[in-house]
Amino acid sequence: MPETLIDKIWSTHRVGRRIDGKDLIYIDRHLLHELHAPEAFRKMTAAGRKVRRPELTFGDLDHTVSSAVGRDDQSNPDGVDFIRAMRAGTSRFGIRLFDLDDPFQGISHVVGPEIGLILPGMTYACPDSHASTVGGLGALAFACGTSELEHVLSTQTIAVTKPRSLRVLLGGRLSRLVGGKDVALRVLAEIGVAGAQGHIIEFAGPAIDDLEIEGRLTLCNLSIEMGARSGLIAADEKTFSWLEGRPYAPSGRDLELALEAWKSMRSDADARFDREVTIDCDGLEPYVTWGTDPSQALPVTGTVPDPDTLAPERRDRTERALEYMDLAVGTPLVGLPIQRVFIGSCTNARLSDLKVAAEVIAGRRIAAGVIGLVVPGSSLVKRQAEALGLDVVFTDAGFVWGESGCSMCAAGNGDHGEPGERCISTTNRNFENRQGAGVRTHLASPATAAAAAVAGEIVDVRDFLDRG
């Protein structure tokens, strides 16, 4: 029988069936972070449990770490207990922690792929909803809560009923300055924040073939915002060459074996999905959100929608969103003044994101009155960007250049906006109060965010560059 990529990963990882009928799926890699792991460590210690495969488990410091240059444990007073508990827990259980001074420190979803820990056809668990980022390499991610995290640590498996499959076929070609983030917001606008509930998404089609790996990681990052269990993209030659030489990726004879396995990890031509959605990406414009959930997104040339024209169940949410965002029906997105810009997060703070933002910024300055912060997704990205001189491009333009971590994405590290501010952000959630009490977040790509920083208002980055 023809199989989907999801079927193939499932069948190669199925350990057996539990007495309650759930499948037990083996987890190849497990990354933890300091916001949630300490509680699991505490409970495991109390219950006398051991970590089954500490050598397949890694720890990150990302949510609570300060982005200030020269930071230490105490730079974010609210983070110090988490950081120390993470150190104590990982050392007690024999888990390698990418500590603040480790070259591999960074946001788990950025670090895992870039050091080759996550590979095509793998299963991956992380106590964080954006685990699905790694789907961009063809791996199947499980985002979990703290109890599930304890389960994975104790058993190296997850007990789960197989979700349904949804193929999102993305046709057409992407134009210049339009990337993974814009595609993701386009899909979100189409299917909504619960559109993929109970499903794992496989993204496929010509627009996916065209996307570079980092753009695929961005798109898969936002699967959770679509309500999906997970999202992935079959690995191809681009993936294999992107992985080559990464520190934890196989080499030599192992690589030959791995490549053989990876090449079969794609959906068979006639495989059946439980659902399919097709979206044409030809002529896709840069997308920006206007509301307080990531599906409330529009082409940048759009205008704020009228709740009365929407389906009844969307109306209340929309009215509330417009109130929170202080937007009137019919207002064009282009021209909305912004006071803060954040370029960072597991969605859009990889090297290619910083490069495209720097290209837009180069030789320009942030508009008067706008505060700009760039926080690389990992310490490796930061070093690579600095080697290219990108830090200087940003600081010359008036941005603050920070140390890697989640920073203003969830405002868990002391970085946040001020009440009433309008912030354009390359992150994944425009929820009320997420980037600070009363902050109004507009999600966008790094290119769009960078252009807005210079213009002091939301702009169409394509026109912006053409104007020179």
């Binding site: 009928g21 037990l24 300490p38 397949l56 207990d81 050091i115 809560g145 929820f431 009320e432």
Partner: protein, 209 residues
């Protein structure tokens, strides 16, 4: 986990759709947060920090509510389990929603908080009944019979996966249930070592070249 059987208690309605876990429990700043305080920490307060008297869970008649009636896609967003622990901390033991975000529902099940979805017409009726009763009488949720009696006396039945129901009724230790398959896990790992050594024998890496 505490076994779940029957809950008789006040039901409160908070009917917004797409309530996310940032709203339910903002990021906690301490290893041992006050979960009750964290529940709807921002949502329940006005701009000046005082409790918003119009927020349903703030109203006196719902102070001891044990059943929450909610909208579509409840608990979307972050996978943080605090969004379930905080419900339990204030005594909410059942959530009846139009639908749940997947991870939130998992987190409920792992903590003995019963997530129920009724058919749409029943949910409409339950919402009306809960609003009409306004906390003056109790709802009954019985997992053994898979029924709900609304505070005004309407009866509904609900579906529940048999395994999930058993786990809740018996308060099963999820990890313990998986560890019964220890033999299969070990056999699987042996197979991996032979077929895909690169998956489990990791190189030692300390930095990029």
């Amino acid at each position: 986990m505490q076994p779940f059987q029957t809950v008789s208690g006040v039901a409160v309605a908070y009917l917004a759709d797409d309530v996310n876990t940032d709203e339910i429990t903002p990021v906690h700043r301490s290893l041992e947060p006050d979960f009750a305080e964290l529940l709807f920490a921002r949502r329940k307060r006005l701009a000046d920090g005082s409790l918003d008297p119009s927020f349903p869970l703030n109203r006196a008649q719902f102070a001891k509510a044990e059943v929450l009636v909610a909208g579509r896609n409840f608990g979307c967003g972050s996978s943080r389990e605090s969004a379930v622990w905080a419900m339990l901390a204030v005594g909410i033991k059942v959530i009846v929603a139009r639908s749940f975000a997947d991870i939130y529902r998992d987190n409920c099940l792992k903590n003995g908080l019963l997530p129920v979805v009724l058919v749409a017409d029943d949910q409409d009726q339950l919402e009306r009944d809960v609003i009409d009763a306004d906390g003056a009488s109790q709802a009954v949720v019985d997992l053994v019979t898979q029924t709900i009696t609304s505070p005004t006396g309407t009866n509904f039945s609900f579906e529940m996966d048999a395994a999930e129901r058993t786990a809740l009724l018996e308060g099963l230790d999820d990890i313990g249930v998986s560890l019964r398959e220890e033999g299969s896990i070990r056999a699987f790992e042996l197979g991996l070592a032979i077929d895909s050594p690169w998956l489990i024998a990791l190189p030692v890496a300390t930095d990029i070249d």
